[in-house]
Symmetry: C2
Subunit: 327 residues, 2 copies
């Protein structure tokens, strides 16, 4: 059984107020925590409150708020003074994926925080076992990997480093559940964690199919959207196999595994795009081409779809929360 959390008793610090940091803050405010938001970059302190207020407004129009917007904002302190982190129970670091920047931030957090604070990084690129060596209490350091937008997704990976204590993992998992997440626990600090490894395995094969002129990118996208997309959110990978009956898979594994791409190389098309400074939808130049209007439509569609699929998944509580045992 996970520990019961009283949100009002738990104050959370967030360091780094970019897009991700802001949406994490909104998620924490919705959960009822007091939040101390620290801006490590000049200008962030001024920009972040506006962004957070806007996201809260979005939550309001989506019916996610049970109190007036102002009640949530009253729980928030935005500052560039790390000393305000002194009473935080958990401090989340969401700064840029650069080791030296993270290290500098950790030294300031360690100086300010009290002896039982958990420090967590949102990194998806740097090993937790490496980062935790930078703090004086590595057993209380852990990875918490959120998905964007943090207030509207159930995904959360909790990543233990080599020195992370069981108590820290348990406490973090209890908090994640209290935030309405469906946390997964990584017992080993493996590069790419779970979700990125799974996705990059697909990307490797997808690029290989395009490079071999088997199919166009548009057709690969279509295939994934309409096949995998039609059951993924309901059942995931292994339960899908049970559902389809297991016996055919062995023969297909035997035939296909040896034929799949084992490439360790970055695809040429990606090298070219990055050399051309293509930034995707944002700058209208990517694997596809976009007009300004296309880009805006994708932004809007993503925001709407995120809410719709969250809502849809919520309508399947019984099987999704099934407690049947794994072998």
């Amino acid at each position: 059984m996970a520990e019961k959390i009283n949100a009002a008793d738990v104050t959370v610090g967030v360091v780094g107020l970019g897009l991700m940091g802001s949406s994490i803050i909104v998620s924490l405010l919705l959960a009822g925590h007091g939040v101390v938001a620290i801006a490590p970059i000049a200008g962030e302190k001024e920009v972040a409150p506006h962004r957070i207020a806007q996201q809260l407004k979005l939550c309001e129009s989506d019916g996610l708020l049970s109190l007036p917007k102002e009640a949530y904002l009253a729980l928030l302190t935005v500052s560039d003074n790390y000393a305000l982190l002194d009473h935080c129970d958990l401090i989340l670091e969401c700064v840029v994926e650069k080791i030296e920047v993270k290290n500098a931030v950790y030294q300031k957090i360690v100086s300010a925080s009290c002896p039982d604070t958990i420090i967590a990084s949102n990194t998806s690129a740097i090993p937790i076992s490496l980062l935790q060596q930078m703090v004086t209490f590595p057993e209380r350091f852990i990875g918490i990997h959120w998905a964007e937008p943090a207030f509207a997704t159930r995904f959360m990976e909790i990543v233990c480093g080599e020195q992370t204590s069981q108590a820290t993992a348990d406490r973090t998992r209890a908090l994640a559940l209290s935030w309405g997440k469906e946390p997964t626990l990584l017992k080993k600090d493996i590069r790419g964690f779970i979700t990125n490894r799974l996705m990059y395995a697909v990307y490797r094969e997808a690029f290989s199919l395009v490079e071999e002129h088997v199919a166009t990118m548009a057709d690969v996208d279509k295939s994934f959207r309409y096949d995998e997309g039609s059951w993924m959110t309901l059942m995931g990978l292994f339960r899908r196999m049970d559902f389809m009956g297991l016996k055919d898979y062995v023969a297909i594994f035997e035939t296909l595994f040896p034929l799949l791409s084992n490439s360790g190389k970055v695809p040429d098309v990606m090298e070219q795009l990055v050399a051309n400074r293509a930034g995707g939808t944002q700058d209208l130049k990517g694997l596809y081409r976009y007009t300004t209007q296309d880009a805006r439509r994708w932004e809007e569609a993503f925001a709407r779809f995120t809410r719709d699929i969250y809502e849809l998944a919520s309508q399947y509580p019984a099987p999704l929360k099934s407690t049947v045992k794994e072998i």
Copy 2:
């Protein structure tokens, strides 16, 4: 531009009336085609009409019918007499994945069919280039790979063998579009086609994570459901990269591709399950364990989710049908 199809002018034959064949027939009846359904196995002729009527009833309660159920059933002939295929424009083979069985069926189809009939196989396991050698007009032989339930999914892979003509591919694609599908075209007849290769790349990595004790099966399922599941149906793989901004991917490809599983081996747990004759949800023994009630709940949830996700995807016509160009 795809050719315009008048469904009433096109009669379709279906050989093989199992689960898949039956749901394909329902899809064709909904599209307005006359359907000649041939049962190659004793007993199928008697069972299939009942199953088809039941699926039509399901379509009726889901509001998929524009005419009374009886109007669709009036378009259907069920028989074991291959000679009735003589006026079919397209004949779909959906029998068991055994080359010798398919070959016997093709000989009967070829004897009965007229000179411009297209013959299509629903195989996902046997190369089209191999199967088309069994007919006297390989240029009119093609793969059409459906997803279950055929009347409620948009997925369709059209697979050209080495000898398939462009005219056959064009005509098949036009038919697929007229059925409300989102067909992808495989220019090469590659093992596993697109969707299976992508999925088996994920399965290879997923089993490796479980075997290395990084995460449990339940956590892998959760991770895929709540991360990939939250955007997959909207954007697919490549457009997702554009949407997230491309630049971070190159560094991650460089780090992760060489670390991913390159195993060519069937996972031990699968060997064991199949040795124990585990059949998944159907016989309550699989990667997870099930009670009879669990199994029924998964059946119901899948039927409902299939409709819900189909409906949800329909609400995103603009970006999903975007005609922006690929590089």
